[in-house]
């Protein structure tokens, strides 16, 4: 009996001490973690909007640049980020939208910046994915992403048209895929066509 009580008491004591420690640690680190997460997103939005920033900038510095130059709006199913620049009255010259889609192992999240026609792509960035390192994960490499510049989301009839093809990409609606990452590349194509549909919905 005494033994059991001791065991129970010991378990409660260990549990309480560990839980207390972890709660304190989580409370302490929560603001830092949230800031990191937000900074990560902001870094990607600023990058696709081609706003220069210090690569090693802290979360506060990034927020300052972000708040000064970017205006955020919700457009249908998308978060839109307008590049407002120095003059808040001027028409935005570039808009970034968030994209999310299925990848091979998990969701792919990123941002795409578009010209004011909401169709021609300026830049693409994927900041969160679980693709195979060395193969599918290469979708976040500049060599792949740079191909998207100037490509168009829809064809002349307004249908989603952008494709990631195996090789020999031609014209404004095709980009070259990555060898060894066929499924990932197909999914990136899906994601782009899905974006085209979402933009259409907002337009209608």
């Amino acid at each position: 009996m005494k033994d059991n009580l001791y065991t129970l008491g010991y378990a409660i004591a260990i549990g309480t001490i560990c839980a207390g420690l972890l709660t304190a640690a989580a409370e302490f680190s929560a603001p830092f973690r949230e800031a990191n997460q937000r900074a990560d997103e902001m870094r990607n939005i600023l990058a696709v909007l081609e706003i220069p920033f210090e690569p090693r900038a802290s979360a506060e510095e990034l927020t300052a640049v972000f708040d000064q130059q970017v205006r955020q709006e919700t457009k249908g199913a998308m978060d839109a980020y307008f590049l407002v620049g120095e003059d808040p009255q001027a028409k935005p010259e570039l808009v970034a939208v968030n994209v999310v889609g299925r990848g091979l192992w998990g969701p792919i999240r990123g941002f795409v910046s578009l010209e004011p026609d909401w169709d021609t792509i300026r830049q693409v960035a994927f900041h969160d994915h679980n693709e195979t390192p060395g193969l599918g994960a290469e979708i976040s490499q500049a060599s792949f992403l740079d191909q998207f510049r100037g490509k168009r989301l829809t064809d002349d009839d307004g249908k989603p048209a952008l494709q990631v093809v195996a090789s020999g990409a031609e014209g404004p609606w095709q980009v070259d895929g990555l060898s060894g990452a066929t499924i990932t590349c197909d999914r990136v194509g899906d994601l782009m066509r899905d974006l085209a549909r979402k933009i259409q919905e907002v337009r209608e």
Binding site: D3, Y6, T7, Y10, A11, I14, G15, C18, L21, L22, A25, A26, F28, S29, F32, R33, N36, A39, D40, T132, P133, G134, L135, G180
Partner: protein, 225 residues
């Protein structure tokens, strides 16, 4: 495969053979035994999972190793302190609770201050909780020995683990990406990156050679003495 019991006669030369000091003269022998003779990864083949998963870059290997050293030293020291008061029936669950606490502490620390690194290591920092090296040292050593000795033993296990990870990370980053700690060593103009090294098979190959090397060297040691 497991740690041989320490022979008091063989360990007397540690700490200058005085038999006193911080670790009762056993420190050096314990350190050599745990980090080299029965190295947790290369000899006991424990902790293989992170050794294969996070060693794509040298920096990742080193941070993972540092996290491992922190958890191993902290938790086994605590467990050794509590070894007489812990009820035997809940010994294992108490060990895991304490190990988990240290793991979550370091994980939160990385997430707060080394965000990029934390994202690259992914779930593997959290998985230290189930790492056989930590629980192995806790069960096999810390439960029977004084806190100072448990400290030395855990440090040795952590350093042994880190060294292996660093060696694997060194070769994988060098051959797979042509860089070391992010600096270009093998220039892409004349060096073709070897994708196999970045992927899992590369880790198995490097690890296989490393274990073979360990066996060979230690065999020679035994024959030579």
């Amino acid at each position: 495969m497991s740690t041989a019991p320490l022979d008091p006669a063989a360990t007397a030369e540690g700490c200058g053979g005085c038999g006193k000091g911080f670790c009762d003269g056993k420190g050096r022998a314990i350190f050599k035994e745990t980090s080299w003779t029965s190295n947790p990864v290369a000899v006991q083949t424990l902790g293989i999972c992170p050794a294969l998963a996070v060693t794509t870059r040298l920096e990742n290997s080193l941070v993972m190793g540092a996290a491992m050293i922190f958890v191993c030293v902290g938790s086994t020291f605590m467990l050794s302190l509590l070894r007489h008061t812990t009820p035997r029936r809940i010994r294992l669950i108490a060990s895991v609770a304490i190990i988990a606490t240290f793991v979550i502490l370091i994980d939160q620390f990385l997430q707060a201050f080394y965000w990029e690194m934390s994202r690259q290591l992914g779930p593997y920092v959290g998985l230290i909780i189930t790492n056989c090296v930590v629980l192995g040292r806790a069960e096999a050593f810390a439960m029977q020995n004084k806190p100072q000795l448990a400290f030395v033993d855990a440090l040795a296990a952590g350093i042994g683990f880190t060294t292996i990870l660093a060696i694997v990370g060194f070769f994988r980053e060098l051959l797979g990406e042509g860089t070391l700690l992010g600096y270009v060593v093998l220039h892409p103009d004349w060096y073709t990156k070897n994708l196999v090294m970045v992927l899992a098979p590369g880790a198995f190959v490097v690890m296989g050679f490393l274990i073979a090397l360990f066996n060979w060297v230690q065999q020679k040691d035994v024959q030579g003495s």
